[in-house]
C-alpha cells in the first residue's frame, strides 16, 4: 500500500482530558469499564491475548499487541475482513492527559482466511486512489 493510501485511510482522534493518565488507563483496560464507553468485551491487558468486542451489529476480533501501563495500549482490530491496529497513547499534561487514538494499517485480516489473498486489500486500497480520481 502506498504511503498516501495509508494516510488517507488512517483515523486519528485526540483530546485533552481533565483526568490523570492512571484513571483513563483504568477505563481503557478494565472490561466492565470498557463496556460502558466502547463495547462488550473479554479484554485483558496482556500481550498476545485474543479478545472480541461485540455489539448488536456484529463483533470485532482483536489481539493485544502492546501494553505499557498508563502510557500506551495497542491492539489489532479486525472487522469486515480488514485488520487494522488501534493504538492509544496517554501523555500527562499540566491539567490532565492528552489522549490520542490512532487506527491505522488497514491490511488483510489474517484471522479470516476465507477472505483470501493476503495482498488483496492493500493492493485494492492502493488502486482505489486511482479509481477515485475518476469519480466525479
Amino acid at each position: 500500500m502506498s504511503k498516501a493510501a495509508t494516510e488517507t485511510l488512517g483515523v486519528i482522534v485526540e483530546r485533552e482530558i481533565s483526568y490523570p493518565p492512571e484513571k483513563i488507563w483504568r477505563a481503557l483496560t478494565q472490561p466492565h469499564l470498557i463496556e460502558e464507553w466502547l463495547m462488550k468485551n473479554d479484554f485483558k491487558p496482556a500481550v498476545d491475548h485474543r479478545f472480541n468486542f461485540s455489539a448488536d451489529w456484529g463483533s470485532v476480533d482483536c489481539q493485544v499487541l502492546a501494553v505499557e501501563p498508563n502510557k500506551t495500549l495497542s491492539y489489532t482490530w479486525g472487522a469486515y475482513g480488514l485488520a487494522s491496529v488501534v493504538t492509544w497513547t496517554l501523555t500527562p499534561t499540566s491539567t490532565g492527559t492528552h489522549l490520542r487514538m490512532e487506527q491505522s494499517g488497514f491490511g488483510p485480516d489474517q484471522q479470516q482466511a476465507y477472505h483470501g489473498a493476503k495482498a488483496g486489500w492493500p493492493r485494492f486500497f492502493a488502486s482505489l486512489e486511482a479509481l477515485l480520481a475518476r469519480i466525479e
Binding site: L9, K23, W57, G81, Q103, H115, G116, F124, L128
Partner: protein
C-alpha cells in the same frame, strides 16, 4: 458503527476473485461474462454468481445486447467506502464522548 451500505460493500469486495473481477471492469471497461471468465480462473457460472453479488451491491451494471450480457463498473458505488474513514472518525469521537462521561462517574 457501520451502516448497511458499507457492510454490503465490504462483504462484496472481501472475496478476492470478486474484487479481481471488479478491478478488471474498472481498468478495462465493459466486458461480457465470457470475456471475464477467460481470465478469472473460475467457471462461467461462478463468474455470473460473483457478478450477481457485485450488481446487488450496486458495483456493476448489466446491459443486454442480443444473447450477450455486458457488465460495467459503477465507480460511484465506492462512495460509502471513501466515507468510511470519516465515519470511523465519527465513531471514535462519539466513543471519546462516552469515555469522558464515564470518567466523570468513576471514583478517583
Amino acid at each position: 458503527m457501520t451502516p448497511d451500505p458499507q457492510d454490503i460493500l465490504f462483504k462484496s469486495l472481501a472475496d478476492p476473485t470478486r474484487r479481481a473481477i471488479f478491478e478488471r471492469l474498472c481498468r478495462e471497461g465493459e466486458q461480457t461474462v465470457g470475456a471475464l471468465t477467460v481470465q478469472s480462473g473460475v467457471s462461467q457460472p461462478a463468474v455470473s454468481k460473483h457478478l450477481g453479488v457485485l450488481k446487488q451491491a450496486g458495483l456493476v451494471r448489466d446491459r443486454h445486447e442480443g444473447r450477450l450480457t455486458h457488465y460495467s463498473a459503477q465507480l460511484g458505488a465506492l462512495a460509502p467506502l471513501i466515507d468510511w474513514t470519516g465515519q470511523m472518525t465519527g465513531f471514535w469521537q462519539n466513543r471519546f464522548d462516552d469515555l469522558e462521561d464515564l470518567l466523570k462517574r468513576m471514583d478517583q
